[in-house]
């Protein structure tokens, strides 16, 4: 077993947060002592996890398209199921994204969460374990466990610390995603029985019969489309976002939304090439509808969080289009857009959180003229608005541009319709920004509003750095998935060509 880190780093990253959580559970004392200890312990655990995860950044071999940092333990040996961990070019950056966003979330909840702080921090650490485990799983059963396990802490975070309609939102979130993923469980069983193993490295190269691919694709689609979320099964997302506490929205938009697209890229495209090819028009159609329709819906929103939630659906529509172009640019663009959206939408939800903490409303019309009172905030908010719109020089541009290049190779009309997203995105984001930040300060309660505190600046600083870095020098990120994506595209082309040949042969 070769492991560039020299120790089982992926398991450590996965289970360290839970260990921190167990430590938090043991704290005794008054409520204030417990709350303070829980905050610091959670922050340190997540920071240590993040620093450890940088080992992946440094030691990852960018020229190797396969799995790295592999670990393997016998788990159910007679069934070909093992506790296998490993990351490749597609997943490594998502592990880093998860470990980077959790400390941000914990800092963002530092003062706003005052009830049941211990349970809150515990939920976040468990959530981190589930997310990191899911992205590092190299075994389908292990993946599935983490994939569904994510629901448990997120359900509690929305339901316990959420807004007025939190019960409705948390149930909708849980049952929607469970209904989708439970069908994937059947697909998982079928694959397991067919291939005799659940090792993803083997499954990637297992050809499945065309008819089986068709049904497997539908089962995967049920699961991942809800997670992405794709139109028309996106309706859980605005509710979940609006009701979730700020940090919950951040992690939901930042990481959880990527699980669906990651699933398409990890399972549907490489394992089911023929079905993916034949379903691609449907995916394009749904992607385009998501881009145009939800952009228009976003424009009509009066609640800031809802607006950003709908914009997430639109951006993820772009990602889906990119994945199903099956060319290097499209898939790289989709991956880049996922990472960029993970940072930018997380930051946008934090921006909403900042003023919500001060005024306790998310109604756009209640704001206006903040630029005078909050110059630093206005600057940060503008940067993230521009990144969301896709201004060159910010991370949002690179991903959308690559996806459109990829889409152009497939069809002119697809690129044409997909690019509507950029225009409409500019419309609703600038509209939001203008109404909140510019204009005249008319409300009395806004006159006394304070600019960002040092803690808030500390939260935003790394996100700003990343947004600009990704926009100005994207190669440091694309280099990670270059080799893997190229190999995946080659394999896809070969598989589809092989099927065509087989179809022509008598």
């Amino acid at each position: 077993m070769t492991n560039a880190a020299g120790f089982p780093i992926l398991s450590l990253l996965t289970w360290l947060p839970v260990a921190g959580g167990l430590f938090i559970m043991t704290v005794r004392g008054t409520d204030a002592v417990i709350a303070s200890n829980a905050r610091w312990a959670a922050l340190w655990t997540s920071l240590i996890t993040f620093v450890l995860s940088l080992v992946l950044w440094v030691r990852f071999d960018q020229s190797n398209p396969g799995y790295q940092f592999q670990e393997s333990l016998a788990w159910l040996p007679e069934f070909g199921v093992g506790y296998r961990m490993g990351v490749d070019g597609i997943s490594v950056l998502f592990v880093l994204l998860s470990t980077a966003l959790v400390p941000v979330c914990i800092l963002a909840s530092w003062d706003t969460i005052q009830t049941r702080v211990r349970e809150y921090m515990l939920a976040f650490l468990v959530l981190e374990t589930m997310m990191v485990g899911m992205f590092s799983a190299q075994d389908f059963v292990v993946f599935y466990m983490f994939f569904e396990g994510v629901l448990i802490p997120m359900f509690l975070i929305i339901g316990v610390w959420g807004g007025p309609r939190r019960v409705y939102a948390s149930f909708k979130f849980f049952l929607y995603t469970l209904a989708g993923s439970i069908l994937m469980l059947l697909a998982l069983l079928a694959i397991w029985l067919y291939a005799g193993t659940t090792d993803l490295a083997v499954l990637m190269h297992t050809p499945f019969p065309a008819r089986m691919q068709f049904w497997l694709f539908l089962a995967f689609f049920a699961s991942f489309a809800v997670k992405v979320p794709m139109w028309p099964v996106h309706t859980w997302l605005p509710d979940a976002h609006v009701e979730a506490p700020t940090a919950g929205s951040v992690i939901l938009a930042g990481v959880l939304l990527k699980m669906g697209a990651y699933g398409f890229l990890r399972f549907s495209v490489p394992m089911l090439p023929d079905a993916s090819q034949s379903f691609a028009p449907l995916m394009y159609a749904l992607g385009v509808v998501a881009v145009i329709y939800t952009s228009l819906v976003a424009f009509a929103q009066t609640d800031m969080k809802k607006l950003i939630a709908y914009s997430s659906v639109a951006h993820m529509g772009v990602v889906v289009i990119g994945i199903f172009t099956f060319n290097v640019q499209g898939i790289q663009g989709a991956l880049f857009q996922m990472l960029s959206h993970g940072i930018v939408s997380a930051a946008l939800f934090l921006c909403v959180g900042v003023i919500y903490d001060r005024i306790h409303t998310r109604d756009i019309s209640r704001y206006g003229g903040l630029a005078g009172r909050m110059p630093a905030y206005a600057l940060f908010f503008m940067l993230f608005t521009m990144a969301s719109v896709g201004l060159p020089g910010t991370s949002g541009f690179v991903g959308e541009f690559l996806v459109l290049v990829g889409a152009f190779k497939v069809s002119l009309y697809l690129a044409y319709l997909g690019s509507f997203g950029m225009i409409l995105g500019a419309v609703y984001m600038l509209y939001l920004y203008r109404r909140v930040v510019f204009g005249t300060l008319t409300r009395d309660d806004l006159r006394g509003i304070l600019d960002l505190s040092p803690r808030e600046v500390a939260i935003f600083a790394p996100l700003i750095g990343l947004t600009l870095w990704m926009g100005i020098y994207p190669t440091s990120f694309t280099a990670f998935f270059d080799a893997t994506v190229s190999a995946m595209v080659q394999q896809h082309v070969a598989a589809v060509a092989g099927t065509k040949l087989a179809g022509i042969a008598p």
């Binding site: 788990w75 069934f79 396990g149 339901g159 849980f174 049952l175 469970l178 469980l185 029985l193």
Partner: protein
Amino acid sequence: MKLAMNWSLALPEIVLACCAMAILIFGVLRKPDPAFSCTMLSLGALMLVGVLTVSTQHGTAYRGLFVMDGFAAYMKVLILVGAGLTAVLALDWNVQAGISRFEFPVLILLSTIGMMVMCSASSLMTLYLGLELQSLALYVLCAFDRDNVRSSESGLKFFVLGALASGLLLYGISLAYGFAGTMQFGELRAALGDPAGVSAGLVVGIVFIIAGLAFKLSAVPFHMWTPDVYEGAPTPVTAFMSTAPKVAAIALLLRALEVPFGHLGTQWTGIIVLVSIASMLLGSLAAIGQSNIKRLMAYSSIGHMGYALVGLAVNTEQGVRGVLIYMVTYVFMSAGVFACIIAMRRRGRSLERISDLSGLATTDPGLALAMTVFMFSMAGIPPFSGFFGKLYVFLPAVQAGYWTLAVIGVLTSVVGAYYYLRVIKVMYFDKAEPAFDARSPSVSFVAGVGALVTTLFFVFPAPLVAAAQSAARVLFG
């Protein structure tokens, strides 16, 4: 077949029967009522018998009426665990309810003997004897709180309906005997060697046998008694009913269908598929409207039996393996849930409404966490054991191409997730009610054991899977 007596193969049952009688005599002679020491002695007896069960030789005894094999040993150990956990649960409850009498553990032991005989039954007559011994002790246990109208009603209801089911079963047995000329499983199998030559009368007999056993299993459409009996019986008895007897009934059903009638699968799998689907549907849909947590658990157990039967419907070794794993996860979850329900007590009064759990997460975080674990596990969410139970019953269903069964199964589990989530919602999202009385250590112990097994099952599933595999192989050997 060598028809020797081999009485030593039944040593666990004999020892347990002797222990039960000795404890009974001890309880009668000793004043004041030695309920606590009798429970402790019973636990000792259960452990001793557990060791004996594992170490007893395998073979056929009593001229083919009784069989001891890996399958029986697996099920018996599980039954003993279930009975032991229940006996612990009853300790505190009975004191609080003023029914702390030494007969309680003795009745549990007697019922356990019946269940163990059921697991080892190798003839329709042994099957019936074991079933009746188990049931009679259970009827009395249901009515154990005899001054309480609900408890007496529950016992009576259970008895009347149980007797009806036993009648159905006996009728089925007599038909099977009449058409096959023997009651022993091995001979039945040989006599029915040619599936084509099976008479309609025998099929009717099988149907009656399945109906009688489905009643004991509380599978739809023979579930009517379950919610009322579960609600009325003292909670530890409900805990007992939902664990050990279910295991025994499943064991009996597996052996009775797989050994003598296994090759007639086409004649009976259809019935099991229907019963399974109906149980899953009813268990998930009917539970939604419940406000009493014991009734909720009754419907939940109906649903769980539906899932377990998926494995039987498939009629393969992998299917039976799935059922065996499912029952292990179910016993620990169920015992744990009832431990939590027993802890629901405010100023000495026991509570049963789901809304009484309001805000438990703030008043008793430990109990709320345990209950949450059980609820997520029952809903089949990984990484808890309930997920693995479902995984192993749906795996053979998919393998054998029972797609309808598998799809209905997973979809009903989403519906079921709704009411399990509702319990969590009440505990975590709602405003706190006054705190419950302090938990007794016995209740905390059972809830803790259940939660630990349920949570950590995923770490080492392999040994249990291997054990279930070898137990399942026996039936297909």
